[in-house]
Symmetry: C2
DNA sequence: TGAACAGCGGTCATTATATGACTGCTGGTC
DNA sequence: GACCAGCAGTCATATAATGACCGCTGTTCA
């Protein structure tokens, strides 16, 4: 404890207050409708002060995203060691993935939107690559599952890790997007889950019967 | 919650941090040996900032005192209604008074010192009168006890409230001072308590036999 | 179709707050 | 009584916060 520490602490606190306020607003209303003034008001600061801590509205948004992506990753840390097979791991992964997004409603929309608009919101390169890296870390969980499957002879050795990883990732997000967009609220969770289960079952069955690279 | 509120909150917090730090130091070392720099360091502020919140070292000291005096008063709120007689109330008052000071060692010394040196430490008039008033509120508890005694016929109607109040207050502080100054630590509490009990018993007996104003 | 305007992100001159080197006083030492 | 150490309190400088303002963009309406 000392003078310098106190000042750092207070800077951090203020920064966090901004993130917390912004998070709430972004999750309530999305990106565009949230004004910097409204963030400032909720954080009990002036707009000018916001810009002492962040360079742009996009950067705030992105920082929030980064935190969420990291938190996201934690949910899957024990997945491989806990699952009896790669197929099972994949199904579990999908289950958790969907639950996560259904419990934190806006998160999915936000992450997807970011994927779709990264290049628009010209962020500092540093930050941009950080996000990409964090996202890749999550995507690569799927790759790990496939690798695990190959190692234990569950999937053919010829399976292309990257391609299949991307396919599954796309499958997941595509199905979720579709059902968030269409279908009613009431049975959404079950519908998505069962759709995914079906899709994955088939995909896995297909994979197992591969004999040449794909 | 809003911007103005937040700023007030933060100002209050900082002010309290100073008081808290100063209190600890004053109670550890007394008044003189505590430098403003040491308060600043403990409060994780610069010396200059201290003077943004207080006008002098004395004022800090005094503010702490004010808080303590107020807290002090709370201990006696139910005294009269809980006691079967004025004599008993007086004895209880003395008992609590002594216990309080023995449990919070430096407080007594500090309060006494203040009484002795108020005029030296030229405080803002406002503050000074506030302290006097707070102190009087405590002293007047004794007066209340006497008044109660007269009302229920326990003491003669002719008893002079103010004079006797001051006498008792002096008796209390004098005896405590004496024993803090001389006598050993070990049996101090009992010695003080029994001395006071004796003194008060005699005083009360004397009072009851009065028949002309005194 | 283009003039007027509203609403926003971002800027910056002004204001508020914090800092610590400095000053002058005081009490102690030799 | 000359020196000095140590302190309360000051103030020029540095840091942080503020909100009026600017320019751009998308919308309304004659």
């Amino acid at each position: 404890m000392g003078l310098e520490e106190r000042r750092k602490r207070e800077r951090d606190n203020r920064r966090n207050a901004i993130l917390k306020a912004a998070r709430k607003l972004f999750f309530e209303r999305g990106f565009k409708p949230v004004t910097v003034d409204s963030i400032a008001k909720k954080a009990e600061l002036s707009k000018g002060s916001i810009y002492l801590y962040f360079n742009s509205k996009e950067e705030i948004y992105t920082q929030i995203l980064l935190g969420d992506i990291d938190k996201f990753h934690e949910h899957f840390s024990d997945l491989l060691t806990d699952s009896p097979s790669a197929s099972e791991a994949l199904l579990r992964f999908a289950g958790i993935y969907v639950d996560l997004f259904l419990s934190d409603r806006e998160l999915f929309r936000i992450l997807m939107t970011f994927m779709l608009h990264t290049s628009d919101m010209n962020l500092p390169e540093e930050l941009n690559s950080h996000i990409i890296k964090a996202t890749n870390r999550n995507i690569s969980i799927v790759e790990d599952i496939f690798r695990y499957g190959i190692e234990r002879g569950e999937f053919p050795a010829a399976v292309n890790l990257r391609l299949n990883r991307n396919a599954i990732w796309g499958l997941l997000n595509g199905i979720i997007s579709l059902h968030l967009f269409t279908g009613g609220e009431s049975k959404r969770a079950e519908v998505i889950q069962s759709t995914l289960r079906l899709g994955l079952d088939i995909y896995i069955r297909g994979l197992k019967t591969c004999d040449r690279p794909r």
